[in-house]
Assembly symmetry: C2
Protein backbone atom coordinates (compact mmCIF):
# COMPACT_ATOMS: atom_id res chain seq x y z
CA UNK A 1 0.00 0.00 0.00
CA UNK A 2 1.10 3.54 -0.77
CA UNK A 3 1.94 5.65 2.25
CA UNK A 4 0.82 9.21 2.77
CA UNK A 5 3.25 12.03 3.29
CA UNK A 6 2.83 11.97 7.07
CA UNK A 7 3.64 8.28 7.40
CA UNK A 8 6.52 8.63 4.97
CA UNK A 9 8.05 11.51 6.90
CA UNK A 10 7.58 9.75 10.23
CA UNK A 11 9.25 6.55 9.01
CA UNK A 12 12.20 8.44 7.55
CA UNK A 13 12.54 10.41 10.77
CA UNK A 14 12.99 7.15 12.67
CA UNK A 15 15.49 5.55 10.32
CA UNK A 16 19.15 5.57 11.38
CA UNK A 17 20.56 5.32 7.89
CA UNK A 18 19.37 6.35 4.44
CA UNK A 19 20.82 6.27 0.96
CA UNK A 20 21.53 9.39 -1.04
CA UNK A 21 21.33 9.12 -4.80
CA UNK A 22 22.78 11.75 -7.11
CA UNK A 23 23.56 11.81 -10.81
CA UNK A 24 26.97 12.31 -12.41
CA UNK A 25 27.48 14.71 -15.30
CA UNK A 26 27.66 11.64 -17.52
CA UNK A 27 24.14 10.64 -16.47
CA UNK A 28 25.19 7.76 -14.22
CA UNK A 29 23.47 7.29 -10.86
CA UNK A 30 25.60 7.36 -7.71
CA UNK A 31 24.47 6.08 -4.30
CA UNK A 32 26.00 6.24 -0.86
CA UNK A 33 24.63 5.43 2.58
CA UNK A 34 24.28 8.50 4.80
CA UNK A 35 23.49 9.40 8.35
CA UNK A 36 21.08 12.30 8.38
CA UNK A 37 18.79 14.55 10.37
CA UNK A 38 15.31 15.55 9.28
CA UNK A 39 13.78 18.91 10.12
CA UNK A 40 10.37 19.38 8.53
CA UNK A 41 10.97 19.06 4.81
CA UNK A 42 14.74 19.44 5.07
CA UNK A 43 17.18 16.58 5.25
CA UNK A 44 20.73 17.27 6.39
CA UNK A 45 23.76 15.09 5.98
CA UNK A 46 27.41 15.92 6.55
CA UNK A 47 30.66 14.81 5.04
CA UNK A 48 34.17 15.01 6.29
CA UNK A 49 36.12 16.75 3.57
CA UNK A 50 38.80 19.38 3.55
CA UNK A 51 37.68 22.52 1.67
CA UNK A 52 40.10 21.93 -1.19
CA UNK A 53 38.78 18.41 -1.79
CA UNK A 54 35.08 19.23 -1.68
CA UNK A 55 34.69 19.20 -5.41
CA UNK A 56 36.52 15.90 -5.62
CA UNK A 57 33.97 14.11 -3.51
CA UNK A 58 31.61 12.52 -5.99
CA UNK A 59 28.30 13.24 -4.29
CA UNK A 60 29.22 16.92 -3.86
CA UNK A 61 30.46 17.35 -7.41
CA UNK A 62 27.25 15.73 -8.63
CA UNK A 63 25.05 18.04 -6.57
CA UNK A 64 26.91 21.14 -7.70
CA UNK A 65 26.25 20.15 -11.32
CA UNK A 66 22.72 18.76 -10.82
CA UNK A 67 20.87 19.44 -7.56
CA UNK A 68 18.23 16.76 -8.13
CA UNK A 69 18.62 14.05 -5.49
CA UNK A 70 16.69 11.20 -3.92
CA UNK A 71 16.93 9.82 -0.39
CA UNK A 72 15.68 6.35 0.47
CA UNK A 73 15.13 4.56 3.76
CA UNK A 74 13.85 1.02 3.85
CA UNK A 75 13.33 -1.79 6.29
CA UNK A 76 14.02 -5.36 5.32
CA UNK A 77 12.62 -8.33 7.17
CA UNK A 78 12.33 -11.99 6.26
CA UNK A 79 8.66 -11.47 7.01
CA UNK A 80 7.76 -9.67 3.83
CA UNK A 81 4.50 -8.47 5.38
CA UNK A 82 6.71 -6.08 7.39
CA UNK A 83 8.55 -4.48 4.47
CA UNK A 84 8.41 -0.76 3.91
CA UNK A 85 10.33 1.97 2.18
CA UNK A 86 10.21 5.73 1.99
CA UNK A 87 11.69 8.00 -0.65
CA UNK A 88 12.20 11.76 -0.50
CA UNK A 89 12.85 13.47 -3.81
CA UNK A 90 14.22 16.95 -3.70
CA UNK A 91 16.88 19.49 -4.46
CA UNK A 92 20.19 19.62 -2.67
CA UNK A 93 22.59 22.40 -1.85
CA UNK A 94 26.13 22.14 -0.51
CA UNK A 95 26.64 24.35 2.56
CA UNK A 96 30.24 25.30 3.25
CA UNK A 97 29.95 28.42 5.38
CA UNK A 98 30.32 27.78 9.11
CA UNK A 99 27.28 29.93 9.88
CA UNK A 100 25.09 27.82 7.61
CA UNK A 101 26.55 24.50 8.74
CA UNK A 102 26.14 25.11 12.48
CA UNK A 103 22.41 24.37 12.75
CA UNK A 104 22.48 21.16 10.70
CA UNK A 105 25.60 19.91 12.50
CA UNK A 106 23.92 20.49 15.85
CA UNK A 107 20.93 18.41 14.71
CA UNK A 108 23.25 15.62 13.60
CA UNK A 109 25.17 15.65 16.87
CA UNK A 110 21.93 15.52 18.81
CA UNK A 111 20.71 12.56 16.81
CA UNK A 112 23.91 10.49 16.71
CA UNK A 113 25.88 10.12 19.95
CA UNK A 114 28.76 8.97 17.74
CA UNK A 115 29.14 12.52 16.43
CA UNK A 116 29.69 13.86 19.94
CA UNK A 117 33.25 12.51 19.80
CA UNK A 118 34.10 14.02 16.44
CA UNK A 119 31.79 16.05 14.26
CA UNK A 120 32.39 16.06 10.50
CA UNK A 121 34.20 19.14 9.25
CA UNK A 122 31.60 19.57 6.56
CA UNK A 123 30.40 20.52 4.10
CA UNK A 124 26.74 19.83 4.79
CA UNK A 125 24.34 18.54 2.15
CA UNK A 126 20.98 20.24 2.68
CA UNK A 127 18.04 18.77 0.81
CA UNK A 128 14.71 20.50 0.35
CA UNK A 129 12.20 17.67 -0.04
CA UNK A 130 9.71 18.29 -2.83
CA UNK A 131 7.96 14.94 -2.85
CA UNK A 132 7.43 12.14 -0.36
CA UNK A 133 6.72 8.63 -1.61
CA UNK A 134 6.39 5.48 0.42
CA UNK A 135 5.15 1.95 0.40
CA UNK A 136 4.43 -0.61 3.07
CA UNK A 137 3.34 -4.22 2.75
CA UNK A 138 0.98 -3.70 5.71
CA UNK A 139 -0.64 -0.62 7.28
CA UNK A 140 2.06 1.39 9.05
CA UNK A 141 0.24 1.72 12.41
CA UNK A 142 2.54 0.76 15.26
CA UNK A 143 5.43 -0.47 13.18
CA UNK A 144 8.84 0.62 14.41
CA UNK A 145 11.29 2.02 11.92
CA UNK A 146 14.55 0.29 11.23
Amino acid sequence: MRLGEGDARRLLAGARVARLATVTQGGRPHIVPVTFALNGDRIYSAVDAKPKTTRNLRRLANILANPQVAVLADSYSEDWAALWWVRADGRAAVLEEPGLMAGPLALLRERYPQYRQALPDGPVVAIEVERWTGWAASPPGSRSSG
Copy 2:
Protein backbone atom coordinates in the same frame (compact mmCIF):
# COMPACT_ATOMS: atom_id res chain seq x y z
CA MET B 1 39.20 1.41 4.29
CA ARG B 2 38.50 0.71 0.64
CA LEU B 3 37.44 -2.86 -0.12
CA GLY B 4 38.76 -4.93 -2.98
CA GLU B 5 36.52 -6.41 -5.60
CA GLY B 6 36.48 -9.83 -3.93
CA ASP B 7 35.35 -8.49 -0.56
CA ALA B 8 32.81 -6.22 -2.23
CA ARG B 9 31.29 -9.07 -4.22
CA ARG B 10 31.21 -11.36 -1.19
CA LEU B 11 29.46 -8.77 0.99
CA LEU B 12 26.86 -8.03 -1.68
CA ALA B 13 26.29 -11.76 -2.16
CA GLY B 14 25.38 -12.06 1.50
CA ALA B 15 23.06 -9.05 1.69
CA ARG B 16 19.31 -9.72 1.66
CA VAL B 17 18.32 -6.36 0.26
CA ALA B 18 19.99 -3.78 -1.95
CA ARG B 19 18.98 -0.49 -3.51
CA LEU B 20 18.75 0.03 -7.23
CA ALA B 21 19.39 3.53 -8.54
CA THR B 22 18.45 4.59 -12.04
CA VAL B 23 18.12 7.97 -13.73
CA THR B 24 14.99 9.47 -15.27
CA GLN B 25 15.03 11.09 -18.67
CA GLY B 26 14.88 14.41 -16.87
CA GLY B 27 18.14 13.61 -15.09
CA ARG B 28 16.62 12.89 -11.68
CA PRO B 29 17.87 9.93 -9.64
CA HIS B 30 15.39 7.22 -8.67
CA ILE B 31 15.98 4.61 -5.96
CA VAL B 32 14.06 1.55 -4.87
CA PRO B 33 14.95 -1.31 -2.54
CA VAL B 34 15.25 -4.64 -4.35
CA THR B 35 15.68 -8.28 -3.60
CA PHE B 36 18.29 -9.74 -5.90
CA ALA B 37 20.49 -12.67 -6.82
CA LEU B 38 24.15 -12.37 -7.74
CA ASN B 39 25.81 -14.69 -10.22
CA GLY B 40 29.41 -13.72 -10.90
CA ASP B 41 29.25 -10.19 -12.24
CA ARG B 42 25.52 -10.28 -12.94
CA ILE B 43 22.86 -9.04 -10.59
CA TYR B 44 19.26 -10.08 -11.17
CA SER B 45 16.14 -8.54 -9.74
CA ALA B 46 12.53 -9.15 -10.69
CA VAL B 47 9.42 -7.07 -10.71
CA ASP B 48 5.79 -8.01 -10.79
CA ALA B 49 4.35 -6.14 -13.71
CA LYS B 50 1.91 -7.03 -16.42
CA PRO B 51 3.50 -6.76 -19.88
CA LYS B 52 1.42 -3.74 -20.85
CA THR B 53 2.51 -1.81 -17.79
CA THR B 54 6.23 -2.53 -18.02
CA ARG B 55 7.06 0.82 -19.47
CA ASN B 56 5.00 2.54 -16.84
CA LEU B 57 7.14 1.19 -14.02
CA ARG B 58 9.64 3.92 -13.36
CA ARG B 59 12.77 1.83 -12.91
CA LEU B 60 12.09 -0.05 -16.15
CA ALA B 61 11.31 3.08 -18.15
CA ASN B 62 14.52 4.62 -16.82
CA ILE B 63 16.63 1.60 -17.77
CA LEU B 64 15.14 1.44 -21.25
CA ALA B 65 16.16 5.08 -21.78
CA ASN B 66 19.49 4.95 -19.90
CA PRO B 67 20.97 1.58 -18.92
CA GLN B 68 23.45 3.03 -16.42
CA VAL B 69 22.52 1.84 -12.92
CA ALA B 70 24.04 1.50 -9.47
CA VAL B 71 23.27 -1.08 -6.79
CA LEU B 72 24.12 -0.48 -3.15
CA ALA B 73 24.13 -2.73 -0.10
CA ASP B 74 25.11 -1.41 3.28
CA SER B 75 25.12 -2.47 6.88
CA TYR B 76 24.27 -0.01 9.62
CA SER B 77 25.21 -0.52 13.23
CA GLU B 78 25.32 1.85 16.18
CA ASP B 79 28.90 0.64 16.48
CA TRP B 80 30.32 2.68 13.65
CA ALA B 81 33.44 0.52 13.60
CA ALA B 82 31.20 -2.14 12.03
CA LEU B 83 29.85 -0.04 9.15
CA TRP B 84 30.35 -1.14 5.56
CA TRP B 85 28.87 -0.57 2.14
CA VAL B 86 29.30 -2.02 -1.31
CA ARG B 87 28.34 -0.49 -4.63
CA ALA B 88 28.11 -2.19 -8.00
CA ASP B 89 28.00 0.13 -11.02
CA GLY B 90 26.90 -1.36 -14.27
CA ARG B 91 24.55 -1.54 -17.20
CA ALA B 92 21.07 -2.96 -16.97
CA ALA B 93 18.81 -4.70 -19.44
CA VAL B 94 15.13 -5.52 -19.08
CA LEU B 95 14.43 -9.18 -19.85
CA GLU B 96 10.87 -9.95 -20.86
CA GLU B 97 11.14 -13.24 -22.75
CA PRO B 98 10.28 -16.30 -20.67
CA GLY B 99 13.38 -18.13 -21.91
CA LEU B 100 15.64 -15.34 -20.69
CA MET B 101 13.80 -14.85 -17.40
CA ALA B 102 13.80 -18.51 -16.35
CA GLY B 103 17.39 -18.72 -15.11
CA PRO B 104 17.32 -15.49 -13.09
CA LEU B 105 13.91 -16.34 -11.60
CA ALA B 106 15.23 -19.75 -10.52
CA LEU B 107 18.16 -18.05 -8.75
CA LEU B 108 15.76 -15.69 -6.98
CA ARG B 109 13.48 -18.51 -5.89
CA GLU B 110 16.44 -20.46 -4.57
CA ARG B 111 17.65 -17.48 -2.58
CA TYR B 112 14.33 -16.27 -1.16
CA PRO B 113 11.97 -18.88 0.30
CA GLN B 114 9.29 -16.15 0.06
CA TYR B 115 9.36 -16.48 -3.74
CA ARG B 116 8.50 -20.18 -3.55
CA GLN B 117 4.90 -19.19 -2.82
CA ALA B 118 4.58 -16.75 -5.67
CA LEU B 119 7.28 -15.83 -8.12
CA PRO B 120 7.14 -12.40 -9.77
CA ASP B 121 5.74 -12.44 -13.29
CA GLY B 122 8.68 -10.40 -14.46
CA PRO B 123 10.23 -8.68 -16.21
CA VAL B 124 13.72 -9.28 -14.87
CA VAL B 125 16.30 -6.52 -14.52
CA ALA B 126 19.70 -7.98 -15.42
CA ILE B 127 22.73 -5.90 -14.50
CA GLU B 128 26.21 -6.49 -15.84
CA VAL B 129 28.51 -5.12 -13.16
CA GLU B 130 31.35 -3.05 -14.57
CA ARG B 131 32.82 -1.74 -11.35
CA TRP B 132 32.83 -2.85 -7.72
CA THR B 133 33.42 -0.28 -4.99
CA GLY B 134 33.27 -0.81 -1.27
CA TRP B 135 34.22 0.63 2.06
CA ALA B 136 34.41 -0.75 5.56
CA ALA B 137 35.24 1.00 8.83
CA SER B 138 37.25 -2.07 9.87
CA PRO B 139 38.91 -4.92 7.94
CA PRO B 140 36.16 -7.17 6.53
CA GLY B 141 37.59 -10.48 7.86
CA SER B 142 34.90 -12.46 9.65
CA ARG B 143 32.22 -9.79 9.53
CA SER B 144 28.79 -11.09 8.64
CA SER B 145 26.79 -9.26 6.02
CA GLY B 146 23.47 -7.66 6.84
